[in-house]
Amino acid sequence: MKLRRFVALISVMVLLAAACGGGAETAVSAQKDVTIGLQLEPPTLDLTTSPAAGIPQVLLYNVYEGLVKLDEAGAIQPLLAESWELNDDGTEYTFSLVEAQFHNSDPFTADDVVFSINNVIGEGSEHPFKETLSSIRSVEAVDDRTVRITLSAFSANLLFFLTQGQGVILNQNAIADIATNPVGTGPFMFDNQVPGDSITLVANPDYWGTPAPLEQVTYRYINDPNALNNAMLAGDIDILAGVSAPELLESFEGNSDFEVFTGLTNGEVTLAINAANPPLDDLRVRQAINTAIDGQAIIDGAYFGYGTPIGSHTTPLDPYYVDLTDVYPYDPDAARALLADAGVEDLTLRILLPPVSYATRGGEIVASQLEDVGINVEISNVEWSVWLDDVFNGDNYDLSIVAHVEPRDIGQYGNPDYYWAYDNPDVAAMLAQADAEPDEATRNAIYSDIQRQITADAANAWLFLLPSLSVTKAGISGFIANAPGLSLDITQLAFNP
C-alpha cells in the first residue's frame, strides 16, 4: 500500500461526501409546508387512553376538534358548537352544532358528540381525564344539529375541560385505529408517522370552516435540546416550539433570521411546603420562607431571566387571575423576625428536587436564600419515581420544587390530603361554592378571594410562571406564543409572502 493510494482513498471519500451534500436547496418563496421541532414524541396517538401531553400538542384543534376551544388568551370560543345555552339553574347545556364532516367523509352529527362524551365518562372507560367530566350526568342528541348535556350540578370548569383532549369529537367508525390513524374534523388530516422521527399532517381540503393557510406540517421529534437547537440553526426546522433549555436561546436572540417568543403557560413553578411537618404548620414559618425568597433571582438563575413572577397559584391566562406578587416582598430581615417570633431556631429543612433543570437550579438558589435567614437546607436530587413516592404520594419531605402544569388547578387547595397538606376549611368551602356558581362575575370574585386567602396563608411559595419559549424563522405569522391549554394551535400559521 503506497501512501499515494491511501491519499487517493481519502480524496474519494471526501468527494463522495461532498456529492451527497448537493441538491439540498429548497425554494423559500410562497412556502406552504412547515417543519416544527418538538422535544417529546407522543408514545401513542390515542388520547383516550394516554395522558401524554405530546398527543394533544399535535392533534388538538389541528386534527381533532371539540365543541369549544381555548383562544390565545385562554378564553373559551365556539368550535364545533356555534353557540350554546345554559338553563337557569345551571344544570343543562344545549349546544347548536355546525355542519361539518370527518376526514373519512362521515358527516358530523349530534350522535358523534354523544358517542365521544360517553366514551370518556361511560362505564369501564379508562380515559385518563375521566374525572374532569364527572359533573356530566347524561348527554343526548335532540336532533342532528343539537345536543343536550345534563349535569348533576353546575361545574364552572366543565366548558374549559371540553376545550381539551377529553372534549374532542371522535368518529365511531375510526375508533379502532385511533392509536395509529386519528380521524377528526379539523383543518389538518393525519398523514403519516415515522416512529422515533416525525409526524406529518396535511391540509383537509373539505374543511367546514376557514381553511388553514398551510398545506403540510411535519413535526420532527428531537429529544436532546442541543440537537434541537442545531436543527433550528441548520435550517432543518422552521419552528422550535417549547424550548426546555433557556440557556440555548441566546444563539437566536438578536439574530434577525429568527424570532424568539416568550409566552405564558399554566405551569406555576411552586416551592411546595409540607404543612404536615412541624414547624411548617406554623403560618409565621411559611411566611418567613415566602419573605426570604427573592423571586427575580430565581427566575434569573434557574431560567435565565425568562419567566413571569407570580404570587399565587394562578396565571394571567386564568379568567380570575389576581396579581399578588407584592404580598411577600423580598425582605431577609422580616423573615428573620418572623422566625424569631415563631420561636424557631436551628431549623433544618429537607428539599427534594425532581430531575428538571428549573428545580435543580432553583433549589440551589432557594437553599442559599433560606440559609441567609438562618434556615439550614439539605438538598436531595431525586428521580421521578422517588419524587412520586416520597413527595407526591408520601409526606416524606419538607420542601420541593415542581411546576404545576395542569390548567385551572387551584382546586387542589381544597383537598387536605394533597401532598402539601394545606388544610383551610374556608378555602375548601369557597372552592366548592365557586365551582357551583353559574354567574361568571360572581364566580371570579370568589376565586379572587381564594387566591388572596391561600397567599395570606402562605400555603406554598410560588416562584415563577414557567414560560413557553419558542423560536420561529423570521417571516412566519400566526404563531401562538401562549400555551393556555395543551394544543399547539397551528391553524393560523402561515409564511409571509
Binding site: 482513498l9 422515533g196 440537537a227 442545531n230 428521580e383 412520586l388
Partner: protein
C-alpha cells in the same frame, strides 16, 4: 472442526440465557413502581391496580421472568404497554437504522485503519509511521459524540452540507437516508478507526518479527513481498478479535451518537423507553442488543478456523 463449532454454539446459547436473566434481574430491582410512574399524578388507586394487573406486577418475579422468557423462546417480545405496539416490530424498525449505521461505521473504520496500520508497520519508525501514530492518538482522544457535535456545528449549521440530524426513512428517501448516516458513521469510525489502526500496526509489526517471515526473506522475498504473502493473514486473527469487540462497542456507542444526530435507531428507542419507563420495551431492546453482540462474537469465533487452519485442530 465440528466439535469446535458445537462448543461455540453451546457457549452462545448459555450466554444468551444468562443475558436474559441479567437484563430481567437488573430491571426488576429498579426503585419505584412502574405503574405509578406511567400514570403519574393522574393515578387513582383503581387505575394503578388495573395497570399493575395488566403488567403482571402483582405476580412473583419468578413468574414474570418465566412468562417473559417463555414468550422470548417463541420469538415474541410482547407488546409495549405505553403505545400498545409490538415490541419486536418496533425493534426491527429501529434496527433498520442502527445496523446500517454500525456497518457503515465499522466499514469506514476498516477502510481507513487497515491500510493506515499496515503502512505504519511497513514504514516502521519512518515519517509515515509517526504521522499515522500521531493521528490515531488524536482520534483515540476524541469522544465520538464530541466529534459528532463538531461535525454538526461546521458541516450542518455553518455550511449546511449535511442535515443536523434526523432520518427521512429508507423507503421515502433512500439517498437522503444514506446522507443522514454519513456524519454519524464518520464520527463512530473516527474513534474505532484510530483504535483499530494501532492494533493493525502492532499485529503486523509482531508478525514481521516471526521466524517464518525471516525464512521467507531468506528465500529472497523483499520485506514488502513477505508482508503481503505471509504477514497479513497471520496478523488477521488478533485484528478480527478486536473488530468483534469494536462492533459491540459501536452498537453501544450508537446510543449516544443516535441521540446527537436524532436518528430513530435502537439506542434512541432504548433511551425513549427508559424515560417513559416502558419496562418491557427496555427489557426487549437491551436483550436484543446483548443478543446481537453475542451473535457477532459467535461469527468472529467461527471465522477463526477459516483464517487460521491451525485453530481447526484445537
Amino acid at each position: 472442526m465440528a466439535l469446535f463449532t458445537l462448543r461455540r454454539l453451546v457457549i452462545f446459547v448459555v450466554s444468551l440465557w444468562a443475558a436474559s436473566v441479567i437484563v430481567f434481574a437488573l430491571l426488576s430491582v429498579l426503585p419505584g413502581d412502574p405503574a405509578s410512574v406511567i400514570l403519574g399524578t393522574q393515578a387513582t388507586p383503581e387505575s394503578l391496580a388495573s395497570l399493575r394487573a395488566e403488567l403482571g406486577l402483582d405476580r412473583s418475579v419468578v413468574a414474570q421472568y418465566l412468562e417473559w422468557s417463555g414468550d422470548l423462546l417463541r420469538g415474541d417480545l410482547g407488546t409495549s404497554y405505553i403505545n400498545r405496539l409490538s415490541i419486536g416490530g418496533q425493534i426491527v424498525d429501529r434496527l433498520s437504522v442502527t445496523i446500517p449505521l454500525a456497518v457503515m461505521g465499522i466499514a469506514l473504520a476498516v477502510l481507513v485503519a487497515v491500510p493506515a496500520g499496515v503502512l505504519a508497520a511497513a514504514r516502521h519508525r519512518k515519517t509515515a509511521d509517526t504521522v499515522i501514530s500521531t493521528l490515531s492518538q488524536l482520534g483515540l482522544a476524541v469522544p465520538a459524540f464530541w466529534a459528532g457535535l463538531v461535525f454538526v456545528t461546521f458541516l450542518a449549521v455553518r455550511w449546511r452540507i449535511f442535515p443536523a440530524g434526523g432520518f427521512p426513512g429508507w423507503s421515502d428517501d433512500f439517498l437522503g437516508s444514506l446522507k443522514a448516516l454519513v456524519l454519524p458513521a464518520v464520527s463512530l469510525a473516527l474513534v474505532q478507526g484510530a483504535i483499530l489502526s494501532r492494533y493493525v500496526r502492532s499485529a503486523v509489526l509482531e508478525v514481521m518479527n516471526e521466524d517464518f517471515i525471516r525464512t521467507a526473506r531468506a528465500k529472497g522475498l523483499t520485506r514488502t513481498e513477505a508482508l503481503w504473502r505471509h504477514g497479513l493473514r497471520n496478523a488477521a486473527i488478533p485484528v478480527v478479535t478486536i473488530l468483534g469487540l469494536q462492533l459491540a462497542a459501536l452498537l453501544a456507542g450508537t446510543v449516544v451518537i443516535e441521540s446527537v444526530f436524532v436518528l430513530p435507531g435502537l439506542g434512541n428507542l432504548l433511551l425513549q423507553a427508559i424515560s417513559r419507563r416502558d419496562l418491557l420495551l427496555v427489557q426487549g431492546a437491551a436483550f436484543v442488543i446483548a443478543a446481537i453482540i453475542l451473535l457477532v462474537n459467535l461469527v468472529i469465533d467461527l471465522s477463526y478456523p477459516l483464517i487460521d487452519p491451525r485453530v481447526r485442530r484445537r
